[in-house]
Symmetry: C2
Subunit: 342 residues, 2 copies
Amino acid sequence: MSIKRKPSGRVNVTDVAKAAGVSVATVSRSFNLPHHVRDDVREKVLQTASKMGYTPNSAAKALRLQKTNVIGAIIPTLDHSIYATMVKSFQDKLAEYGYVVYVLSCGFDSNSIYDSVRLLVERGAEALLIVGDVADPDLTRYLKEYRMPVVCTYSYFDNRAFPFIGFDNYQATKQLTEYLLGLGHRNMAMLTGPMQGNDRQQARHSAFLDALKEHKSKCTHFTYESAGGYTIEFGEKTLRRIRLECPEVTAIICNSDVIAFGVLSACKKMGIDVPREMSVVGYDNLEFAEYLEPPLTTLAIPAAEMGLRSAEAIIANLKNGTEIKPLLLGTQLMIRQSSHSI
Amino acid sequence: MSIKRKPSGRVNVTDVAKAAGVSVATVSRSFNLPHHVRDDVREKVLQTASKMGYTPNSAAKALRLQKTNVIGAIIPTLDHSIYATMVKSFQDKLAEYGYVVYVLSCGFDSNSIYDSVRLLVERGAEALLIVGDVADPDLTRYLKEYRMPVVCTYSYFDNRAFPFIGFDNYQATKQLTEYLLGLGHRNMAMLTGPMQGNDRQQARHSAFLDALKEHKSKCTHFTYESAGGYTIEFGEKTLRRIRLECPEVTAIICNSDVIAFGVLSACKKMGIDVPREMSVVGYDNLEFAEYLEPPLTTLAIPAAEMGLRSAEAIIANLKNGTEIKPLLLGTQLMIRQSSHSI
DNA sequence: CTGAAAGCGCTTACAG
DNA sequence: CTGAAAGCGCTTACAG
């Protein structure tokens, strides 16, 4: 059988049907309802299709079936490894079920995700994973009207428009701060990521302030916010500022191990003994945390698990209509250095 | 005007047309050929559409226009920050032109990407970014038959099926090895990532061996391959093995700064003075490299630039049919520690 | 400037 | 078991 190709462009069902001497219906059935087609016919169709390099057109399929198998994910940035980890596990799980994930990075301000959501809706996203809360009421209404299944992640609130599958940034930081208070520290600094429209950072900061407030003794606190994301450089520079601006600080909470890396590095250069003169704690439990000198006390967050659980919830919702239930995942304080304040 | 919604599902052109009292053609034109529609009519259509929350269906659009605005990217893993950086710049550039990027992680073995490519073709990818060479001849034929614009990246070869926009791993490693030879090192080890089907690692390894071979003096060399990717742990453990198995080694090339981190960490723990007793060099110039102790000599690779240039080449090809030309990007050896062998 | 109609590629209810 | 036909939502050449 001589195979004819179109002068350009892809081979479609019609081409395969002609070449195999059957109708397009039979070609389609051979792929999607194989047991509805006589064995020898199906065999021939499949072989012909394979020989011609037929690849189904998923736009046409999506249009016809009203199902795209596309899931959207909106994250602040791929550049931060913790998001990459989460997205990877999310994606890997969904791929098992034939879904493809569109990942959009949109910065840290959750007020600016409207356009990203629109884009994903346009692309036919059947469900959305969003880092942080959906703060914009217009956006909430829009998503509700579409009956769009939405999982918010990386935070945990139980009074919001959409269910969260994440962890409690407030409680985690409270624990971290109380740990430092327990060691006797009274003058602390927190180094945060961008706070604007960022409920994770805001929750951590509130927890930090509240923990100190609740404590009877007189405490002082300082906050340094990174404009540009989570970098070693920010930690390095800020430690130097802290020594100038508030030398009484004996403990520093960094909202990322990356920042803590910079703080430790600067301490070393300035001859500040960690942890005896300065306690430094981080967030994320990145691989390097335990290899730093001294090993970094850090708050392990369930990055891969958030991706996995979110994927599972979405799959159950899409396949069986199972409601997406909020899920509070645990964090773990990895104590690797501990020293009382001097 | 009272807005009717469908009981479920999305609002489409027909709904908007009815609500605005015009034909679907006019609705479509109002969006895509606005100057072909009378001002007041267009105004009304756009307002109605907005009020109803109309979002165009890109599957239908793709089917009709035979254009998906989807680009595919096949990378080993998102977990390695250098790939995340590349993908991010690739994605950001393409987003400016209305393209959306599907990212598939497929491990390090380029022989296993056939399925990923099929999936992306099915999804209507108009062009592909592939990390490494397309080694599989079947896959090459398949892509050629589809006239699929393909950019290979992260490597550079000029005799392959598809153009590369990347850097020369062989030359870069040659330079690195010769630098160490120049310092007097004669007994070296290379710590690689997974080699199977991985032209980047293979090229680096060949360069390592060749550089030593070309050198007149008698050299010894050792290779340790990480099965599980680029981890600190691999570097840490391997340094310990090296001390046992080939204690004459005075210089170690790590094919990732992450691995070098582990080697440095182990050296510190074992009391091995870097760089006086042991030279350690890395790859990638990750942010932490200059903050390590001692600062890490490393080969900076143009991760963001690869993403950007690849995106530009693809855009030019898709918009104007401009042929995708190979582009050899530079690397830079960042010398931060240097010590002659003892 | 506007509308009716064709058609992109696919799947499936319907008829045989 | 198989085929002809309808229709998913969209855009545009064609006709007015």
